[in-house]
Symmetry: C2
Subunit: 301 residues, 2 copies
C-alpha cells in the first residue's frame, strides 16, 4: 500500500472526565491527539499543535511510540489546554464543566517538511487557525475538517469561508443542524454541501454515521457495544480511522469513502471502550479489520 502522510492540526489537551463508569483527571486528550493516535494505525501522521511546559513527557512518548511526527508540537511557556467534562446516562452529550484555553491561543509554527502533506485534517479548533494552516501547505490532495458549536456560534462567517476550501466536512448531528438551521438531517446534509465540501459526513454517536458524496447517501450503524465507558474523542478517532484508511487508497472513489466511514466507525468503537486514549493505544490494525468484517455481517440483508 502506498501510504501517504496525514497532517493534523488541532488541540492537545489534559482532560478531566466523569462518566457513569468513573472519573479520570488530567489525562491525555485533545482533538489532534485522538486523531493522530487513530490515523497512525494506518499511515504516517504529522501533528501540528501546542502544549504547555506542564505537558507530561510520558504523553509525548505515546505519540513517539506510534511513530507520529511531533516536530510540529510546540511546547510553549505556560499551561496546556485543559477540558473538563461530564457525561450522564445519555452518553451522547457531554456537559462541559470548564475549559482553559491556556497556550491554545497561540498558532503553532509549521515545520517546513510538513508543507507537502497530501492529506490534511483540520481537527476541531478555531476556524482562523484551521484556515491559516492551509496557507502553509503547497497542494494538499485532500482536506477534511471538523468544528464545534462554539465556532458555529462565534465564528460562523470564518467557518463558512473555510468550508469553501475543504473537500470533506465531518461534523456531528447537532452541529449539522446548528450550521444549517434544519432539523431534518438529510436536508441539513444537502444544505452543507452547498457551502463547498464535496463530501459531508454526519456522526451520530450510538446511531452511527451518515455520508453524502457524489450525490449518493450512505448510512452505517455504530459498532454495537454493550458498554460505553467514555465517549470523549470518538469523533476525532472516527476522523483518524476515516482519513487513515483513505491515505492507503490509490484513488479516492465514492466506494473507498464509504469503506473509510466504516473504518472510522470501527476505530471510534474502540476509543469509547475505555477512558482517554487507553484502548486506542492498545489496538492493532488486525483488531480493526476484524470489527470491519463484523460490520459487514451486521448490515447485510
Amino acid at each position: 500500500m502506498n501510504k501517504k502522510s496525514i497532517l493534523v492540526v488541532g488541540s492537545v489537551a489534559l482532560d478531566t472526565v466523569e462518566t457513569p463508569s468513573g472519573r479520570v483527571e488530567e489525562v491525555l486528550g485533545g482533538s489532534a491527539t485522538y486523531f493522530a493516535l487513530a490515523a497512525s494505525l494506518f499511515a504516517p501522521v504529522r501533528l501540528l499543535g501546542v502544549a504547555g511546559k506542564d505537558f507530561p513527557q510520558k504523553y509525548l512518548r505515546k505519540f513517539q511510540k506510534r511513530g507520529i511526527d511531533i516536530s510540529g508540537l510546540k511546547i510553549l511557556d505556560g499551561r496546556t489546554f485543559r477540558w473538563s467534562g461530564r457525561y450522564r446516562e445519555n452518553l451522547n452529550e457531554a456537559e462541559t464543566l470548564s475549559v482553559c484555553q491556556n497556550v491554545l491561543k497561540h498558532f503553532p509554527e509549521v515545520p517546513g517538511h510538513y508543507s507537502d502533506s497530501p492529506l490534511v485534517f483540520l481537527a476541531n479548533t478555531d476556524p482562523v487557525t484551521q484556515r491559516k494552516t492551509l496557507e502553509y501547505l503547497s497542494a494538499p490532495r485532500l482536506v477534511a475538517c471538523d468544528t464545534m458549536n462554539l465556532w458555529i456560534r462565534t465564528r460562523k462567517s470564518e467557518l463558512k469561508k473555510l468550508l469553501q476550501k475543504v473537500d470533506i466536512l465531518i461534523v456531528n448531528d447537532s452541529e449539522a443542524r446548528m450550521l444549517t438551521g434544519r432539523s431534518n438531517l438529510p436536508a441539513a446534509v444537502w444544505a452543507l454541501l452547498e457551502h463547498g465540501p464535496k463530501t459531508v459526513i454526519v456522526k451520530k454517536g450510538e446511531h452511527g454515521a451518515f455520508l453524502c458524496t457524489a450525490g449518493e447517501l450512505f448510512a452505517v450503524p455504530a459498532y454495537p457495544l454493550h458498554q460505553v465507558v467514555d465517549p470523549t474523542g470518538a469523533g476525532d478517532s472516527f476522523a483518524g480511522g476515516f482519513l487513515g484508511y483513505l491515505s492507503c487508497c490509490p484513488r479516492i472513489t465514492p466506494a473507498m469513502i464509504r469503506k473509510a466511514v466504516v473504518y472510522g466507525a470501527v476505530v471510534a468503537s474502540f476509543t469509547v471502550e475505555d477512558f482517554s486514549t487507553r484502548r486506542l493505544e492498545k489496538i492493532t490494525l488486525q483488531d480493526i479489520t476484524s470489527r470491519f468484517q463484523e460490520m459487514r455481517k451486521i448490515v447485510r440483508f
Copy 2:
C-alpha cells in the same frame, strides 16, 4: 407466494395531530389501523378491535378497499378512542395532549374464523387485552407484539407474562430502555431476550432499527427523507411491513427476518410523508420494492 393471514388486535382511533407541517383533526388513526393498512399491501389482514358509533363510514371503507377483514371490528355504543398529540421540531417524540379511552376499554368479540390465524400482531394496547386475544387462537405460527411506556409503568408484571408467549417483541428505543432499566441499547436488547421473545426489534425513528435474532445483531438506517410531515403510526406501519413481508415467506429464517425489518423501515418511511394514513393508502407494493432496492444501495460498502 403462499400468503398467510395476519390477525392484528389493537386500537382504532380518531386522532388530532399537530406537527411543524400543520394540523389535522379527528383523522383515522390507531395502532391496529396503521398496521392493517401496511400489512394488507402484502397479505390478507384480519382486524380485531372496537370503535364507537361515531366512527365514520368513510374510514371503514378505507379498510374494505384494502380487502381487510373487519368482521372483528366491533362498533359499540359510545365514542371511538381519541388521541390528540403534538410534535415539535424534534419529530422523534410525541407530546400527548389528551387521550380518551372511550369504547377502548371493552374487549372485542373474536369472530370464530379468526382463530386459525397463523400470524398475529398484538399492537400497542393493554397487555391484558393482548394476552386474552392469544387465548382465542388455536395455534399461531408467529406472535409479535408492541407496547408503550404507559403499560410498562402500570402493567409491568402483566407485560412480562405476555412476553413469555410472544416470538417477536417490537418496541422503540425509549421503551426498550424503560423495560430493562439499561440505557445502553445493545445491552437492553440482550436483557429483553431473557424475558422470552426469540427476536427483539428496536425502532429508533430517524435512526432506523436494530434487531437481535438467533444471537446475531442487525442494524438498518431509516430510509432518508427530506421532510417528515407526521411521525404518527410509523411504528405500527413498520410492524405491518415487517409481518406483511414475513407472511409471504415460505420459512421464517434469520435472513428473512432481516429483510422483513428493511421492508418495515421502508413502509414506515411512506407513512410519515403525510398526515394520518393518507400516504399509506396510496402506495403500492411496487413503491415499496423500489425503496427496498434503494436501501440496499444506501448501506452497501
